[in-house]
C-alpha cells in the first residue's frame, strides 16, 4: 500500500504520547532528579560563607564519609522552614555541609543564629556556579554525596518531617 507513509507522523506522535504518558504516571520524585546523579561532583573551591565555619571544596567531600549537601540561602523562606529537619538529621548523626547561594556573610550569620547551625562547613556560591553545575535550579535542595564525592540522590524543595527517614536511608545506602 502506497499511502502508509502518510501515517508515519501519527505513529511517531503515538510513540511520543506513550513515553510522555508513562513518564507522567511515574512518581514525581522520580523525574525531577538531577542529570548529575551517579556522577562525581565537579571540582570547586569556595570561601567560607560565615566566619564561624570553614569553606567548602571538592576535597572535603572526598574524605570517605557520605554527607548531605544542603543548598540554601538566608533570603529563602522555605530554607527557614526546613531548619528544624536539618537539626533533626544532624542530631541523628548525619554530617551536613552547606552551600550558601548569593548571600552576604552578615545575613548568613544572622540566619544561623536564629534558626540554628547544623553545618560542618559552609561554602559561598556567589554566582550560583556550583549550584548550576550540579543541576540544582532553586533553593533549598539537598544532595546525598557519597564518600568519594559522587552524587547519589537529590531532594528538591524543603525537607519536611516525612523526608527525614528517607534521607537517612539514602545516606546509609551511600555507605554511612
Amino acid at each position: 500500500m502506497k499511502g502508509w507513509r502518510f501515517f508515519l507522523p501519527l505513529a511517531l506522535f503515538a510513540a511520543f504520547v506513550g513515553v510522555a504518558g508513562y513518564q507522567l504516571t511515574q512518581p514525581k520524585a522520580e523525574f525531577v532528579e538531577s542529570a548529575m546523579i551517579g556522577k562525581p561532583m565537579p571540582a570547586f573551591e569556595m570561601r567560607a560563607a560565615s566566619p564561624d565555619r570553614p569553606g567548602l571544596s571538592l576535597a572535603d567531600l572526598k574524605d570517605g564519609r557520605p554527607k548531605l549537601l544542603n543548598v540554601w540561602a538566608s533570603w529563602c523562606v522555605p530554607c527557614a522552614a526546613e531548619a528544624p529537619q536539618l537539626a533533626t538529621l544532624q542530631a541523628q548523626g548525619a554530617p551536613i555541609v552547606g552551600v550558601a547561594i548569593r548571600d552576604r556573610p552578615e545575613d548568613v550569620a544572622a540566619f544561623l543564629a536564629r534558626y540554628g547551625n547544623p553545618f560542618e562547613r559552609i561554602g559561598a556560591d556567589d554566582m550560583s556556579e556550583l549550584q548550576l553545575s550540579i543541576g540544582s535550579s532553586g533553593v533549598p535542595e539537598t544532595f546525598v554525596v557519597d564518600g568519594q564525592g559522587v552524587i547519589r540522590y537529590q531532594h528538591i524543595g524543603d525537607i519536611r518531617a516525612e523526608h527525614v527517614p528517607l534521607l537517612l536511608g539514602k545516606l546509609r545506602e551511600a555507605g554511612a
Binding site: P9, F13, V17, A20, Y22, V32, A35, M127
Partner: protein, 647 residues
C-alpha cells in the same frame, strides 16, 4: 462580581465553541443548511466573550482583588501598575486564559474577514478551531479556573516572581502566545482543507498571512527572550538550549518551513500534502512545547507553574487534537498529494531542500529536548546540552545556509545552474573572504564556519536586487531579502560572540581597576539603593574603551522581599562594535568585591539580525495583504463591469 462576570463569559464562550463545532461539522457533512449560517456568528461572539473574560481578569489584577485566589497568589498591592497588568498573564491560569483568548479572537477575525475559501472549507476550518478552543476552555473551567475565589480574602498578595518583574519579560509571553496561537489558525485551516479535500493555491494564499503573522511574533518573541536571558540571568550567555527555549524554537522552525512551502503551493500548486503536514506540525510543536514546559516532565531553569496533574490534561488534549489531525492526514493526504511537477533545479527545488533541512533541524532540536525523557524511560539519566545541539545542528544548518544563498536566485519551475554561476561565484568569494578572516583572527571551527557563511549569505541575500528596479520591487521580495540578510547578520553576531568574547573575573577594592579586552573598568563605589519592592547593592563602575572617555555603569545585585529572591541586574555599555557586560558579585573578603566583566565583540548583531528577520516578515505580510486587497478590488470592478454589460 467582576470575577463572576468573567467566569460566566468564559462558560458562554465555551458553549458557543461547542455550537461552532457541531454546526460546522453538520454543515460540512450535509452541505448548506440552517445550521451552516450559525458557524460564523458563533465564532465572532465566542471571540468577543472570551476577550471580555480576559479583560475582567486584567481588571481584577489592576484592582488587586485579594478575594480572588489567582490575584492573591500572584500579585501584591505594592507592585507597579505595569507589573500588576503583567501579573494577569504571568502565571499558569492567566496565561492559559490569554492563550484561549488570542485563539478565539483569531477565530472571530477569520470568521469576519476571510472570504476567499469555499464556504464549506471555511466551515470545516471554523469547526476545527471551535474544537481546539473547546479543549482549552475545558482545561480552564475544570482544572485551572482563573476566577476562583478564596473562602477568606488574603490580607496581602504573594507578588510576582521577581525574575518576571522586568518590562521585557512582562511582554515576552504574550508575544510568543500570539505566535503559538496564530499557528492554531494554520492548523485549523489545514484540517479544514483536508476534510473538504480543497488543498489549493487559494487555500495557501488564505493561510499565508496567518502563518506570517504568527511567525513574526515568534521571531520577535524568541529574539526578545534571548536578550532577556542574556542581561537578566547574569551569565552572559544568549542561548542555553533549555527546554523552555527549545519549546519556542521548534514551532518557529516548523513555521519557517511552512511559510516557504505555502509559497510554493500558492505560486505553483505543488507540495500540497507537505504544506498541510507542516500546518499540523507547526501548531503541534506549540502544544508539545507548552506541555513539556507546564507538566514538569522536563526540568528547566525557567519553567514555572509546573504541575503533573495538569500535564495529564494537556497530554490528553495533545492526543486528541494532534493525534486526530494526523489521523485525518493519514487518511486524506493521499488524495490531495498530486500537484504540479517541477525540475530539481528550480526555485521550488531549492525550497523543497530548504524545507527538508529545516525539518531535519527541527528533528534535531526535538530529539535533543525529548532525549532525556526517552532514556529516563529506560532507566538512564542524561542531560543534553550544547555539546549535542551545536555540532549536530550545524550538520544541517550549514547546507541550509548554502541553499539560502542560491535558492532566491533561481527561477520557478526550471532553471539552469549555468545561468547563476556568476552570481553564485560572488557569494562564494564572500565565503572565502570570511573563511580567511576567521582563520587570520584565530576563531574556532564552528565560529569560523559561521563567519564565512555569514559573510557569504549577507552578499548573496542582496543579489536578488541586482539589475532590478528597486522602487518597483514587490514588498514581499524586499521582505525576503531583508529576512535573509537578517539571518546573515544574526549568524555573524553569534560567530563573533563565540569566537572573540573575553572574560575577566576579578576581586577589586573600591578605587581599583580591572581590564577586559580594550576596556579599563574602575570600581568607583558600592552603594545600597532601594526600589519599589526591592533593595540592592549597586556598583558604580567607570569604564573606558581604549583609554577614551569614561562611561558610568550601574550593575546591581537585587533582593526582592515578596517573594524573597535575589536577582542580578547586569550593566551594559553598547558600542557599534560590541558590548561590555558587567556583573557585581558579592563582597569577597570585607574589602574586595567580585566583579565579572565580559567584552563581547559584535554580540548585538544577534538581536538586530533577529529583528531584521521579523521586519522582513512584516514587509512580506503588508505586501501580501495589499496584493490581496488589490486583487479583490479588481475582481469586484470586473464583476460590476460584467453586470453593466449584461444590462
Amino acid at each position: 462580581m467582576i470575577a463572576e462576570l468573567g467566569l460566566a463569559a468564559l462558560w458562554l464562550a465555551a458553549a458557543l465553541a461547542a455550537l461552532q463545532l457541531v454546526a460546522g461539522f453538520l454543515a460540512v457533512r450535509q452541505g448548506e443548511g440552517d445550521l451552516a449560517a450559525l458557524v460564523r456568528p458563533a465564532a465572532v461572539v465566542q471571540g468577543i466573550l472570551c476577550v471580555f473574560s480576559f479583560l475582567m481578569l486584567v481588571w481584577l489584577f489592576v484592582r488587586t482583588d485579594l478575594s480572588v485566589k489567582l490575584v492573591a497568589m500572584n500579585s501584591h498591592s505594592d507592585k507597579p501598575l505595569i507589573f500588576k497588568l503583567a501579573g494577569s498573564w504571568g502565571n499558569h491560569e492567566g496565561s492559559m486564559l490569554l492563550w484561549v483568548t488570542v485563539m478565539s479572537a483569531a477565530g472571530a477575525l477569520i470568521a469576519f474577514v476571510e472570504r476567499r475559501l469555499p464556504e464549506r472549507t471555511m466551515q470545516a476550518t471554523l469547526a476545527a478551531q471551535g474544537f481546539v478552543a473547546l479543549g482549552f476552555y475545558a482545561f480552564l473551567l475544570f482544572s485551572s479556573n482563573p476566577f476562583e475565589r478564596l473562602p477568606v480574602p488574603a490580607v496581602e498578595g504573594n507578588g510576582l516572581n521577581p525574575l518576571l518583574q522586568d518590562i521585557g519579560l512582562a511582554f515576552h509571553p504574550p508575544t510568543l502566545y500570539l505566535g503559538y496561537v496564530g499557528l492554531s489558525v494554520a492548523f485549523s485551516f489545514a484540517v479544514g482543507a483536508l476534510l473538504t479535500r480543497q488543498v489549493t493555491p487559494e487555500f495557501a494564499r488564505a493561510m499565508r498571512p496567518w502563518v506570517l503573522g504568527a511567525w513574526i511574533f515568534l521571531t520577535v518573541g524568541i529574539t526578545a527572550g534571548s536578550y532577556w536571558a542574556y542581561y537578566e540571568l547574569g551569565w552572559g550567555g544568549w542561548w542555553f538550549w533549555d527546554p523552555v527555549e527549545n519549546a519556542s524554537l521548534m514551532p518557529w522552525l516548523a513555521a519557517t518551513a511552512l511559510l516557504h512551502s505555502a509559497s510554493v503551493l500558492a505560486a505553483r500548486d505543488a507540495l500540497r500534502a507537505w504544506t498541510i503536514m507542516l500546518g499540523v506540525v507547526a501548531f503541534s510543536m506549540s502544544m508539545i512545547g507548552t506541555f513539556l514546559v507546564r507538566s514538569g516532565i522536563l526540568t528547566s531553569v525557567h519553567a514555572f507553574a509546573v504541575d503533573p496533574e495538569r500535564g495529564s490534561f494537556i497530554l490528553a488534549l495533545l492526543a486528541i487534537y494532534i493525534g486526530g489531525a494526523l489521523a485525518v492526514f493519514g487518511l486524506r493526504a493521499g488524495s490531495v498529494a498530486e500537484g504540479e511537477k517541477f525540475s530539481a533545479v528550480s526555485r521550488e527545488g531549492a525550497l523543497v531542500v530548504n524545507n527538508v533541512l529545516l525539518s531535519a533541524i527541527l528533528g534535531v532540536v526535538l530529539l535533543g529536548t525529548l532525549y532525556p525523557l526517552l532514556t529516563e524511560a529506560m532507566g538512564v539519566r542524561v542531560s543534553v546540552g550544547p555539546p549535542y545541539f551545536d555540532p549536530v545542528g550545524a550538520v544541517f544548518v550549514v547546507p541550509m545556509l548554502l541553499v539560502m544563498m542560491v535558492g532566491p536566485l533561481l527561477r520557478w519551475r526550471g532553471d539552469r545552474l549555468a545561468r547563476i554561476n556568476k552570481l553564485a561565484a560572488v557569494g562564494f568569494v564572500g565565503v572565502l573572504a570570511g573563511l580567511l578572516l576567521a582563520i587570520l583572527l584565530g576563531a574556532g571551527v564552528l565560529p569560523t564556519i559561521g563567519l564565512a557563511l555569514g559573510i557569504g549569505l549577507a552578499i548573496a541575500s542582496l543579489l536578488p536586487l541586482r539589475g532590478r528596479n528597486v522602487r518597483r520591487l514587490p514588498l514581499a521580495t524586499w521582505g525576503m531579502v531583508i529576512a535573509h540578510l537578517g539571518v546573515a547578520v544574526a549568524l555573524l553576531g553569534m560567530a563573533s560572540e563565540s569566537a572573540f568574547s573575553e572574560e575577566k573575573l576579578a576581586a577589586v577594592k573600591v578605587g581599583e581597576s580591572a581590564s577586559v579586552g580594550p576596556w579599563q573598568v574602575t570600581l568607583a563605589a558600592v552603594d545600597p539603593v532601594a526600589g519599589p519592592n526591592w533593595t540592592a547593592l549597586e556598583g558604580v563602575m567607570l569604564a573606558s574603551y581604549g583609554g577614551g572617555s569614561l562611561t558610568e555603569l550601574h550593575p546591581q545585585a537585587r533582593s526582592f522581599w515578596s517573594p524573597p529572591q535575589e536577582t542580578t541586574e547586569s550593566a551594559l555599555v553598547t558600542r557599534w562594535n560590541g558590548q561590555l557586560y558587567a556583573v557585581l558579585g558579592k563582597a569577597a573578603d570585607g574589602e574586595r568585591w567580585q566583579v565579572r566583566l565580559w567584552w563581547k565583540p559584535f554580540v548585538t548583531l544577534i538581536w538586530y539580525g533577529g529583528l531584521m528577520v521579523a521586519l522582513g516578515g512584516l514587509l512580506a505580510l503588508v505586501g501580501r495583504v495589499r496584493e490581496d486587497l488589490r486583487r479583490r478590488y479588481v475582481q469586484r470592478k470586473a464583476g460590476e463591469r460584467r453586470m453593466d454589460l449584461a444590462q
